[in-house]
């Protein structure tokens, strides 16, 4: 099923009826950016024009203007996706020696600005080496070194000799963090890395399924960014199944696996008792996480203001969403990896509290969010919001009123209009809404036998009477 046919998406509605939603037809072409985010090349151009305009602007330090670089990889690796299954793999390193861990640990980037982020990520030179994703064991020195770096617990000192001076400018992705120029590796020497013990254990266990390794590491407290790095170099799974996984895919694979595992617990836990609003603002993104006292369901709604990363051409706010109800969804979320990252973060909170809830995340990306910085932004900022004390409300109306009058700029009505989950909550009646309380008999034979029930039962419609009541 293609994304255009998936009914779980409100995008479907927009694309089908451009006139109604955006006023004029040509904007359909413009809002492709949100769906594509530099990955699908929907506009037909060879390079993403949104990303390309930043390539030339950035200046690199003279330390990168040379064929050989000595530095400490944070540790960091990048596995490309073009040409799959023959892709460019390799470590990333800055021209600095020392503890560079911070440069590739999104969990630590709580209070940085976009400028700071770009500044230090630009220093990461990406070494490339063309490798077959399946050829892990006999791949040669550079393949081995890349895998060793990815599993390291500390920054790894290394010296790289490149075939040419690093070039290509700073690269931005929708899922992965930006990085600096790249060059093919000719020779690589590195200090023996010390592996992170938990990850090392999973690495040597060639009977442990990859999913179980990821879930187990997350449960034991390994950082998601660490698990994802090891995952991308094929460190987990049954021996014969191991392979390199492009960085972009590995990020979402790990978020999705952990999230789905936690969801199994969420879906059988007792529901929360009230409506909750968690709020957070970072990188000119405003976040509202609404939890509702209902069965598990989830939606991420993103509103992109004009001049933000993925809404560069239009003069109107573009809103998109993906959602799922209790039974989950069949197709990949239209809005991409951020859906899975935020879904995981919400389930971390719910399982830690042993609770179930319905969740709607409302995100406003304001004009200060000029560049895509990667899915970590969604994962870490949703987590940050959920670390705060929530405001509690009696009703959905009260919760939405608070959110839209104190944090969000877009009115409640518009959020509801584009939302699958909110509309469902507001408009879908429940079986218990029609339970006639005070009626003792409930056997089928009685159904429809009474007259005059209609009006009274209708009065009860819309109340939240517990089902067992």
């Amino acid at each position: 099923m293609s994304q255009w046919q998936d009914k779980n998406s409100t995008i479907n509605r927009f694309v089908k009826n451009p006139r109604e939603t955006f006023g004029e037809k040509k904007t359909v072409h413009r809002n492709q950016c949100i769906l594509c985010r530099g990955t699908k090349m929907l506009c037909g151009k060879e390079k993403c024009p949104v990303l390309a305009k930043y390539f030339s602007k950035e200046k690199f330090s003279p330390a990168l203007e040379r064929n050989d670089i000595a530095g400490s990889s944070p540790p960091s690796v990048f596995i490309g996706r073009y040409g799959y299954p023959k892709v460019a793999i390799g470590p990333m390193l800055p021209p600095v020696l020392g503890d560079t861990t911070y440069l590739d640990t999104p969990e630590l980037w709580q209070d940085i600005t976009i400028e700071q982020l770009i500044d230090f990520r630009t220093q990461l030179v990406r070494g490339t080496h063309l490798a077959d994703v399946h050829n892990l064991e006999g791949g040669g020195r550079i393949v081995d070194a890349t895998r060793e770096v990815a599993l390291s617990v500390n920054a790894v000192d290394m010296e790289a000799l490149f075939e040419s001076k690093p070039s290509g400018g700073v690269k931005f992705y929708s899922e992965a963090q930006p990085h600096g120029p790249s060059a093919p590796i000719e020779r690589l020497t590195l200090d023996n890395p010390k592996y992170e013990p938990r990850i090392e254990k999973a690495f040597y266990d060639t009977d442990l399924k990859s999913r179980d390794a990821v879930i187990g590491l997350h449960k034991d407290g390994s950082l998601v960014s660490r698990i994802q790095k090891a995952f991308s170099v094929g460190a987990f799974g049954e021996g014969k199944n191991r392979k390199f996984v492009p960085t972009r895919w590995s990020i979402t694979a790990v978020d999705s696996m952990i999230g789905e595992h936690l969801m199994e617990k969420t879906k059988i836990a007792p529901t929360i008792d009230e409506y909750r609003i968690y709020e957070h603002i970072a990188l000119d993104n405003r976040w509202i996480i609404l939890l509702m006292p209902t069965e598990w369901c989830f939606e991420l709604i993103e509103a992109w203001y004009p001049d933000t990363a993925w809404n560069p051409y239009d003069s109107k706010i573009q809103i998109f969403s993906s959602y799922e109800f209790y039974d989950g969804r069949d197709a990949y979320a239209e809005i991409g990896g951020c859906y899975y990252a935020s879904r995981m973060a919400v389930n971390e909170l719910l399982t830690s509290q042993g609770k179930q809830a319905g969740c709607v995340i409302m995100r406003e990306a304001h004009p200060g969010y000029i560049l895509p910085v990667g899915v970590w932004n969604v994962r870490e900022n949703v987590r940050a919001a959920l670390r705060t004390q929530p405001k509690k409300f009696e009703s959905l109306n009260d919760a939405m009123f608070y959110a839209t009058s104190n944090v969000l700029d877009i009115p409640a009505k518009r959020w509801i209009n584009v939302s699958g989950v909110l509309k469902h909550r507001l408009y879908q009646r429940r079986v218990e809404d029609f339970l006639f309380t005070g009626e003792s008999k409930s056997d089928r034979q009685d159904v429809g036998a009474k007259t005059g029930v209609d009006a009274e039962a209708k009065e009860g419609a819309g109340t939240d009477a517990g089902y067992e009541a």
């Binding site: 009914k7 209790y326 408009y427 079986v431 029609f434 429809g448 209708k458």
Partner: protein, 245 residues
């Protein structure tokens, strides 16, 4: 005590009609037959199913409750072919249901019924009753699913109508009185429903010839049909969607 033999396709129908709404169900076993009532996790729909002892090849039981994981039972049923007779035997001491398919014996652990509340069936007065062939309606559902998440069911004195509104397209299935098995409606009534649920219910009813739909205005729909050659009966209730608020 519960000891019975049943044709594979009948047991399969019981599983299929129930598992569209729940993963586990509490079966009430009596000397007369088995029954269950269950509401889906989102509380949008419920199923009320009964299967008389005549639907079984052999049947011996006293009053008890069995909590059954429908997924597990379905796994076992995959081993059976259509004509097979499945034997069911409840072992009280081990709290297991012994299921025999041909020469395979599966001892299936049961779900604790203590945490499974009895579903209550709302007492509804639904003015319109339509009996329609399931084949007539399933094509309309298929057409609606392609364009929308919701379907409107309408009945008046002249016939029954199923319609769906997409963003640009619409689907309409009109069945005048003479294409229906029967129609009882003194006024025009209309309600809107989630197509996901309604489509699954219609699919579950495909084995039976005719479906009874009871309708009201912005009110739940009740869908009833027979299973096991009239020895069993299924009632679905689906809560409406009301957008006028």
């Amino acid at each position: 005590m519960f000891k019975a033999k049943i044709k594979a396709d009948i047991l399969k129908t019981v599983i299929d009609t129930t598992s569209i709404l729940v993963d586990e169900a509490k079966f009430h076993i009596t000397p007369e037959g088995i029954s269950l009532k269950a509401v889906d996790p989102a509380h949008v729909a419920m199923v009320d199913l009964s299967l008389g002892s005549k639907a079984f090849e052999e049947y011996k039981a006293e009053d008890l409750e069995l909590g059954i994981d429908l997924g597990k039972l379905d796994q076992i049923m995959k081993l059976a072919s259509a004509g097979d007779v499945i034997s069911l035997d409840y072992k009280e001491d081990a709290h297991r249901l012994v299921v025999k398919v041909a020469n395979i014996v599966r001892k299936m652990s049961l779900v604790d019924t203590a945490g499974m509340p009895d579903a209550k069936v709302p007492n509804l007065n639904l003015p319109a009753e339509v009996v329609v062939k399931s084949s007539e309606i399933s094509q309309g559902v298929l057409a609606s699913k392609a364009i929308s998440d919701h379907v409107a069911l309408t009945a008046d004195t002249d016939g029954f109508e199923l319609s769906a509104e997409g963003d640009t397209d619409s689907v309409n299935l009109k069945l005048p009185k003479d294409l229906l098995v029967s129609l009882k409606s003194s006024e025009r009534v209309k309600s809107l429903f989630s197509l996901d649920y309604f489509a699954n219910m219609i699919k579950a009813a495909k084995s039976s010839d005719a479906i009874l739909l009871k309708l009201g205005n912005d009110y739940p729909v009740m869908m009833e049909f027979d299973i096991a050659d009239g020895n069993g009966h299924v009632v679905y209730l689906l809560a409406p969607r009301i957008e006028s608020d």
